[in-house]
């Protein structure tokens, strides 16, 4: 028996799930329905569960107002190799929007630059495309986008 009064593997799993994902079973991994039923059977809210519900409320309250710049930076720092996975989630549109805006700005800047400046050497123009596409998308797609 552990020190919160719950015993056995089921109790341990319930506590591990709540401590990791919070007290709302909708946030738990799939396949934990039995453990969710166990949570529903908890009578008087034990202290450990009340504490975790408080953490959920804090996190939710922060979410209601706006993700902080620090959170947005964390999202932006997710490696691009996982971009397809991340785009399934709620903030995936933000990455798409930044990438699209960056691409448009880069293309507009290049068009203006080409029309108002002396012709650049071909290797410089290619280098610009490399830099711009890397800045806008975080990866080099210059071969696909280059005029």
């Amino acid at each position: 028996m552990n020190n919160d009064g719950k015993s056995g593997a089921k109790g341990d799993r319930l506590k591990a799930l709540v401590e990791s994902y919070g007290a709302d079973p909708r946030r738990w991994p799939a396949g934990e329905e039995r453990t969710a039923e166990e949570l529903a059977r908890e009578g008087d809210t034990p202290a450990w569960l009340g504490g975790q519900r408080q953490v959920d409320r804090w996190l939710d309250d922060a979410e209601d107002i706006a993700p902080s710049a620090a959170l947005l930076r964390s999202i932006a720092e997710i490696p691009l190799r996982h971009a397809a996975t991340v785009q399934k989630s709620g903030w995936g549109w933000l990455r798409n929007a930044f990438a699209l805006a960056g691409t448009i700005a880069a293309a507009a800047g290049l068009v203006i630059g080409m029309s108002t400046s002396e012709p650049a050497a071909t290797s410089d123009a290619a280098s610009d495309w490399d830099d711009l596409s890397t800045l806008a998308l975080g990866m080099d797609v210059s071969e696909d986008l280059a005029p």
Binding site: A16, E19, S20, Y21, G22, R27, P29, A30, G51, Q52, Q54, V55, W58, L59, D61, A62, E63, D64, I65, A66, P67, S68, A70, L71, S74, I75, E77, I78, P79, H82, T85, V86, K88, S89, G90, W91
Partner: protein
């Protein structure tokens, strides 16, 4: 504590977490990634992800409970 202030305090407490704990909470709680997806992003197993989440949440709770009690003490002094 009003909600805007609370959100700022939670944001600060999150920012103070070790990077991987913060990333785990961000991915699972705010981005809604599944445990498998989040573990993949962090290049860890699901057990390690759950450990990061649990340590992050525990640390957040300690920081915010401490902060809240300091706020209450401050209000009582005024």
């Amino acid at each position: 504590m009003d909600r805007k202030r609370l959100a700022i305090d939670v944001g600060r407490a999150l920012a103070d977490l070790p990077e991987r704990q913060r990333a785990a909470i961000t991915l699972v709680h705010y981005q809604g990634l599944t445990n498998i997806e989040a573990a993949s992003v962090l290049d860890v197993g699901v057990d390690a992800l759950e450990s990061l989440l649990a340590r992050g949440r525990r640390s957040l709770r300690e920081k915010l409970v401490q902060h809240e009690s300091q706020e209450v003490q401050g209000e009582q002094r005024r």
